[in-house]
Amino acid sequence: MKEDIVLDLTELPAHGLGTASPSWWGTLAFMLIEGTGFALSIVIYLYLMSLAPRWPLGAPPPDLLAGTTLTVLLLASLVPNILVARWAREQDLRKVRVGLIVMAVLGIVPLILRAFEFPAMHIKWDQNAYGSIVWVMLGLHTTHILTDVIETLVLTCLMFSRHGDTPRRFGDVSDSAMYWNFVVATWLPMYACLYWIPRL
């Protein structure tokens, strides 16, 4: 069939940001999948609680210190995280580099605190159903912090390399920042569930 050129796209950018970026949609879909996983783990926790004669099973309520410190730290990390996202939108390479280093540190410190949260539960994963579900919930969220820290470290290296200064990589940084917001947001119901429901 004969062709009739009605539109010339030569002027379009070679990469889109936000909803014009496939990796933005990929991050969003990944958040949907992982968010479902978090929601299911909370549902399982509440289901087991509804069956148990008392709750927590065979253990005192968890110690608050490590988990609460971690929660405060995660909430505080949102400030530099949102700043990094803003600097990435403005494509300010120097600020993004500094921000990514800060975010890498703010990802590693929660991992250290998390190491103290597991013993604060006063139960092992194989002791009973309560032990199983709290280790699953903590482990699931730890995996998310860990993968985001690795992602942040890789992006930090990338932004210091010759590949860094392009809109595509700034888009990666802002997608990564969006994902960290998700990691923090999912922790809040998990924290309430793990630490405060046993105290009700």
Binding site: M1, K2, E3, D4, I5, V6, L7, D8, L9, T10, E11, L12, P13, A14, H15, G16, T19, A20, S21, P22, I150, V154, L158, H163, T166, P167, R168, R169, G171
Partner: protein, 264 residues
């Protein structure tokens, strides 16, 4: 569609408990579900093969043989399966290979068997025509049916890339509303793999995103993931140690290669 609706109507009949008590496990049920399956899947499949055969192969199937195939299969199907309703109502159970000679089902069963031969002959003719046409049928044009949808704007058979330039669609019947020339967009680069990103609802072009090139890294990632998961059946430490090759392969996959596709 008519066949499928007949199957649906007998489905409503067998959903009624007093009726089903009578015809359960009889030939009525066999007739019913063949009308559903053949009307719902087999006839549409045959129709689809005839419809897209020119697009798939670039050759036309025979019109004359097609009419014969339709007559044999459609007619033969009804002559085979409609009498089964009657056999079922006469009490013939399904899943039997023989019955006493005094049962009054012999005449209709002979008729059904002969009709089934007509169906088989129709299918034989269909396969002969399909193979023969793919081999040496008349060459098909891009749109032999005067159809309205985009695949008929591509050549028959289509190029691996379908369209050299992405078409612009303004209606549900683009080839009918744009009868003279296909409106297309220009300006995609030829020195890097590109695809067009548009807004979600309005379809307004927003960016020319690069498409991935060939890479060995996805294979490494798949192998590392497989190794980790299989190993984790035997030891929980597999998750810890296996995550290292998985991470390495994913990072290697992600890391920019300095090709035109990295540009933005």
């Amino acid at each position: 569609m008519v066949i499928f609706v007949i199957g649906g109507l007998t489905g409503v009949m067998v959903a009624s408990v007093p009726f089903d008590t009578q015809v359960h496990d009889t030939y009525f049920v066999v007739a019913h579900f063949h009308y559903v399956l053949v009307g719902g899947a087999v006839f549409p499949l045959l129709g689809a093969i005839y419809y897209w055969f020119p697009k798939l192969t670039g050759k036309m199937m025979s019109e004359t043989l097609g009419r014969w195939v339709f007559g044999l299969i459609f007619g033969g199907f009804n002559l085979t399966f409609f009498p089964m309703h009657i056999l079922g109502l006469q009490g013939m159970p399904r899943r039997i290979y023989t019955y006493q000679p005094e049962m009054p089902w012999a005449g209709l069963n002979m008729f059904v068997s002969l009709s089934a031969i007509a169906v088989a002959a129709g299918f034989l003719l269909f396969f002969i025509d399909a193979i023969r046409s793919a081999w040496s049928g008349p060459v098909a044009t891009a749109n032999p049916w005067g159809a309205s949808t985009l695949e008929w704007a591509a050549s028959s058979p289509p190029q691996p890339y379908n369209f050299a330039r992405p078409p612009v669609v303004g209606s549900r019947e683009p080839l009918w509303t744009e009868a003279t020339a296909l409106p297309v967009v220009a300006g995609l680069r030829v020195d890097r793999r590109e695809l067009l990103i548009t807004s979600v609802v309005e379809g307004i072009p927003e960016a020319l995103e690069s498409s991935v090139g060939n890479s060995i890294w996805p294979l490494w990632a798949a192998l590392a993931t497989t190794l980790t998961l299989v190993w984790s059946i035997f030891s929980p430490w597999a998750v810890v140690w296996g995550s290292i090759p998985v991470s390495v392969s994913l990072i290697g996959w992600f890391w920019p290669k300095g090709v035109p596709e990295d540009e933005s």
